[in-house]
């Protein structure tokens, strides 16, 4: 199994959810984040003084998938959230040794079916 983590724009979460559901991936965990990469933040004003905001709001999405589904999910996520503009975000894949569904105690691939 693999864990696919995507750092995306917050307003793309809903599109991501729909896209994943459409390809039958039934599970997703989202955390609010802030980050920067090439997209560098910006300048804001408060009472006449400028200040740099280095971080931009992002959402961090995690999907546990069967190893066989990795490419499908990467494609799905990419298509769902891509705008072509800087800041679209990153997807990264890590290996998962084991998964447990707490309710049933199922392990491994069973646990994310």
């Amino acid at each position: 199994m693999k864990l696919i983590t995507a750092i995306i724009k917050p307003d793309k979460v809903e599109a991501l959810r729909q896209a994943l559901t459409a390809v039958d991936i039934q599970g997703l965990t989202i955390v609010e984040a802030k980050g920067y990469g090439r997209q560098k933040g910006h300048t804001e004003l408060y009472r006449g003084a400028e200040y740099e905001v280095h971080f931009l709001p992002k959402s961090r999405a995690e999907v546990l998938v069967d190893s066989a589904d990795v490419e499908k999910v990467i494609t799905t996520i990419s298509e769902a959230v891509k705008s072509g503009k800087i800041g679209d975000g990153k997807i990264y894949v890590t290996d998962v040794i084991d998964v447990v569904r707490i309710r049933t105690g199922e392990r491994g691939a069973e646990a994310i079916k």
Partner: protein, 435 residues
């Protein structure tokens, strides 16, 4: 018969006129009620300051600023009762009152009236009840120190601040008050400050300047290379709530300063004052909106809120103008000066958290000058009054702050500042579940 009638008719008319006037006792009731009503409105301004300041500080210092605000209003009440009113109004020598009226209470005549004495006529002649006047004066005193709490927020220790509030409301404000409203030397020179642009707002503003200078700016606000890192207030709805409450209370602040409601003249005057007060605030808001748009390409809400206050402060010295449009102008200039002062203070590294100095001191000075300019007073005397406020308040409050600094300490340590005063000096943070 006809003649008699001819005589009678004028008599009736005269009697008609007489009974067409406000009776002495009715005037007493109306005057007293005005003080009570307007005093209640001004009391509510304590909440206005509390909310405004709670909106402009960071979450981690919110409980502390709330506590300081309710504490200072309470301390003001007690100190003004113990000595302040007496120093301001009782046997004023020209430079200060006396302690002869400490623990100020109802007059013995009034107590007799309550006990059944038939001295209504004598009482009515006094014009208003003693306690109503005291109450109205006390709430003004509290206002002055509210200005300090906002400017010095997020770094001044709670206890020393409360001690300073006692000094300010028991001594500093009353002394300047005795020079002016108490009938002292500035009053005699003809200094004109209807509801206290200088007497309340600049006095508070000067103490705020001194406090900010002695405390120094908040950690991280100004870096050595001259860069300013603004620290955004946490809660704009609270700041807006506070501003509107201040505006609301200001009708009492200025309206009540007519000091009487017992005649058509007073009623007319109060109406004019209320309209001018409102118009000046409108002018301040609109000017600050336009100017912040021009200066920063976007509207700044917090500056617009300060603009309302600046407009109100500016008109406070002379809200009895007969042309309401002049109030719009005076308020608008107040709003503009305040908007310009905000970045200027930053350049001087005076870290005024809520814009109190810009809105109260700068606009207060402007308002006091405006009375001289627009013919409500002598411009030179107005300048003397403005300088006198600085000359009195700056050294006195500096002494106060330095003594506190040397004894209890004035500023929280670095770690407390980083963690926030709420956790370090109080038991509770303001938004435990939102953190």
């Amino acid at each position: 018969m006809k003649k008699i009638l001819a005589f009678l008719i004028p008599t009736l008319l005269v009697s008609g006129l007489a009974s067409a006037e406000v009776s002495a006792e009715t005037a007493f009731v109306l005057n007293t009620f005005l003080f009570v009503f307007c005093g209640i409105l001004v009391m509510f301004m304590a909440l206005g300051f509390a909310m405004l300041e709670a909106g402009f500080v960071r979450k981690k210092n919110t409980s502390a600023i709330l506590l300081k605000n309710i504490a200072l209003y309470s301390i003001a009440g007690i100190m003004f009762y113990l000595i302040g009113y007496s120093l301001m109004y009782v046997d004023v020598s020209g430079w200060i009152g006396s302690l002869g009226g400490a623990f100020y209470n109802p007059s013995s005549d009034e107590l007799a009236l309550l006990d059944g004495a038939e001295n209504v006529a004598a009482i009515a002649e006094t014009g208003y009840s003693v306690a109503s006047d005291w109450f109205f004066q006390m709430v003004f005193c509290a206002t002055a120190v509210s200005i300090v709490s906002g400017a010095c927020a997020e770094r001044i220790k709670v206890w020393p601040f409360m001690i300073f509030a006692a000094i300010m409301t028991g001594i500093i404000y009353p002394i300047f008050g005795s020079w002016t409203w108490g009938g002292g030397w500035l009053a005699e020179m003809g200094f004109s400050d209807f509801a206290g642009s200088t007497i309340v707002h600049s006095v508070g503003g000067w103490a705020a300047v001194v406090g900010c200078l002695i405390l120094g700016p908040r950690a991280g606000k100004y870096s050595k290379d001259g860069k300013i890192s603004p620290i955004a207030g946490a809660n704009m709805p609270l700041a807006c709530l506070g501003t509107f409450i201040l505006w609301f209370g200001w009708f009492g602040f200025n309206g009540g300063s007519q000091l009487a409601l017992g005649s058509a003249l007073d009623a007319v005057a109060i109406s004019i004052v209320v309209v001018n007060t409102n118009m000046a605030a409108c002018g301040g808001v609109v000017a600050a909106i336009i100017l912040s748009q021009l200066m920063y390409k976007k509207i700044d809400l917090s500056i617009s809120l300060n603009g309302a206050i600046a407009g109100l402060v500016a008109i406070t010295a002379g809200p009895d103008l007969s042309n309401h449009f002049m109030s719009v102008i005076i308020g608008a200039i107040g709003g503009i000066l305040c908007t310009l002062a905000i970045p200027m203070l930053d350049k001087m590294k005076i870290d005024d958290v809520v814009g109190a100095i810009s809105a109260h001191l700068i606009a207060g000075i402007w308002g006091t000058l405006a009375v001289g300019i627009f013919g409500g007073g002598d411009l030179m005397v107005q300048i003397v009054g403005i300088l006198a406020a600085a000359a009195l308040v700056v050294p006195l409050s500096a002494v106060g702050f330095y003594i506190l600094k040397a004894t209890t300490g004035l500023r929280v340590d670095e770690e407390t500042e980083a963690v926030g005063l709420d956790k370090a000096e109080l038991t509770t943070v303001a938004y435990p579940e939102f953190n």
